[in-house]
């Protein structure tokens, strides 16, 4: 098998006595959509934070694209090709939608120690931003302040911002949470379209979306990977049903 784009080796993270990542190891293959599922509080967001760099693991190694990035700061990871969205929407509310995306493109297009030229007129950045907005279907909102978007639109904006950095690996933390049925379908289509051009690690509770999209699924419970495999294998796994899917089936 080819070298995975992301590999976690024995990652540990504890908050007090609570082990949120418990000697966790997993790998994400290049070009795939890899879903990470698990019940509330399983440690999914904490894991995304350790991959993107906002949270430092207590022990273990994070490998990205053949490099040990465990001690690499967040901004430098972005330049290596890592991008994430946040479960709790995190945009620049006072910026326009376009500027939110353009500022992400700017970080990856030359340096930003330019002091005099008005940035709003930089065509290359705006074009790149509009392209990302088009991918998620937000072009009509470009001139609006980001703070004025609906919840679902902000979720899409998060993805556009991440895409504008030109990532190799996109970490999506519950992109569908709180969005309507229609928006979810749109998002599934968007991610389908991205398949192959960027590797995606998808944290999601919406099982329909997960089974529609994922090439592989890892199931997290109490900070451990309790199962991993193809969607069919996961669906049939009794341990997973007990820990997680059981609740859904019963409902």
């Amino acid at each position: 098998m080819a070298e995975p784009i992301l590999a976690l080796e024995g990652v540990c993270k504890a908050y007090g006595a609570l082990a949120v990542s418990d000697d966790l190891s997993m790998a994400v293959a290049r070009g795939t959509i890899h879903a990470l599922i698990g019940p509330n509080g399983a440690g999914k967001t904490t894991l995304v934070g350790q991959i993107a760099g906002q949270i430092a693991p207590d022990a273990g190694t994070v490998w990205f694209d053949g490099r040990d990035i465990t001690r690499v700061p967040v901004h430098a990871r972005s330049h290596l090709g890592l991008a994430r969205t946040f479960q709790i929407t995190s945009v620049l509310p006072g910026f326009t939608v376009l500027e939110n995306v353009a500022v992400a493109a700017q970080a990856h297009a030359g340096h930003s120690f330019r002091f005099l030229r008005p940035v709003a007129g930089e065509r290359a950045l705006n074009d790149r931003a509009m392209q990302a907005l088009e991918t998620v279907g937000l072009t009509a909102r470009a001139p609006m302040p980001a703070g004025a978007l609906s919840h679902g639109e902000k979720r899409q904006l998060e993805i556009a911002i991440a895409l504008a950095t030109g990532p190799k690996l996109l970490l999506l933390d519950e992109p569908m949470a709180g969005t309507g049925r229609e928006e979810t379908e749109r998002l599934v289509a968007t991610l389908q379209a991205l398949r192959g051009s960027v590797t995606i690690l998808l944290v999601e509770h919406d099982m329909q979306a997960v089974f529609a999209l994922a090439d592989r699924i890892s199931v997290l419970d109490y900070g451990r990977v309790i199962a991993e495999g193809t969607p069919d294998a996961i669906r049939g796994n009794p341990e997973v049903r007990a820990a997680y899917l059981g609740e859904e089936d019963a409902a």
């Binding site: 995190s90 910026f95 120690f113 005099l116």
Partner: protein
């Protein structure tokens, strides 16, 4: 909410017209006091403008900004004490020394945030204040009197109040223009972005520290310029220039005028110093009156005087 890039406001033009009118009015009524006072106001406006760059646009609440004024002033004052009156030497030194001090202290201060940042900038401010007080060779606590103003190309141009006024106005306009360009540039966008959401900016690939430090250095240089002008204006330098009260006054000017608009800081400096001048005519306890006024403005005019003016202006239009 502070607008990302303020829409075009008539205030900068109104301020410019007012400043241009001062020499004419002063000339007609032969009140040199007016022109001297207005010069002082514009000098502080430059310092307030520089503070707005980091406070209003970068959310860096520096409680030691007056130190940069003090360093700029001492550069000119100490130069004068050694018979160096050439402004082409002392002004660049004033600006660079203040900028260097900003970079060195900023490198430490910017490792912290929020209240800690306020406290540590205050601490550096006090350190500089006591250092200046202990410079016995340069007057120590009592300050240092200059026996003349800076010269340019061998001419003491600043001795003429009107010429001095025009020079300061030129500096103010240049600083405003530069700051205006700065906040709309790539660099300014990063600074504004970090104010909006630091975590998000890191996630898309920026190291906020580097940008904030450079902004802090630029603001320090600008305040250093205002200090060099202030020393010439008063023909006197003293540690009081860097006191924490002075730093506090600069914050008040920026908040009073409206943070994050640049012209708001200028308006705030005008309003603060003119009010001080008028009220202190009636009572030495003028702060007792000024304090509540300030609170009312902060409560009822969010965005400060500049927002208030813009609103009444557009209200009259529509």
């Amino acid at each position: 909410m502070i607008r990302a890039v303020p829409s075009r406001s008539p205030i900068p033009l109104m301020l410019l017209i007012a400043f241009l009118a001062v020499p004419a009015i002063a000339g007609a009524s032969d009140t040199s006091f007016l022109i001297v006072m207005a010069t002082r106001v514009m000098i502080f406006a430059i310092a307030a403008l520089s503070l707005d760059l980091i406070l209003g646009y970068g959310a860096m609440v520096s409680f030691g900004h007056a130190v940069f004024i003090g360093i700029g002033a001492y550069a000119v004052g100490i130069g004068a004490a050694h018979e160096i009156y050439d402004g082409l030497i002392t002004f660049p030194i004033a600006i660079l020394a203040a900028g260097l001090f900003a970079l060195i202290t900023g490198a430490i201060c910017l490792r912290t945030r929020g209240v800690y940042f306020i406290m540590i900038t205050l601490a550096f401010g006090q350190m500089a204040y006591f250092t200046a007080s202990s410079l016995s060779a340069y007057g120590g606590d009592d300050g240092l009197t200059m026996w003349g103003r800076s010269e340019f190309f061998g001419v003491a141009v600043l001795n003429d109040p009107t010429v001095f006024y025009v020079v300061v106005l030129g500096c103010l306009v240049a600083c405003w223009g530069f700051a205006r360009a700065l906040v709309s540039s790539r660099f300014g966008r990063v600074i504004r972005g970090v104010r909006e959401n630091r975590v998000r900016m890191q996630a898309v690939g920026y190291d906020p520290y580097r940008y904030q430090l450079v902004a802090y250095g630029i603001a320090g240089m600008m305040a250093g310029l205002s200090g060099a002008l202030l020393a010439n204006h008063a023909e006197f330098v003293s540690p009081a220039y860097m006191s924490w009260q002075r730093s506090g006054e600069l914050i008040i000017m920026v908040v009073l005028g409206g943070m994050g608009s640049l012209h708001g800081a200028v308006l705030g400096a005008v309003a603060y110093l003119v009010t001080e001048e008028v009220l202190s005519h009636y009572t030495e306890h003028w702060r007792v009156i000024f304090g509540p006024m300030l609170i009312l403005i902060v409560i009822y005019a969010r965005g400060g005087l500049s927002r208030l003016l813009d609103r009444t202006g557009s209200g009259a239009d529509g």
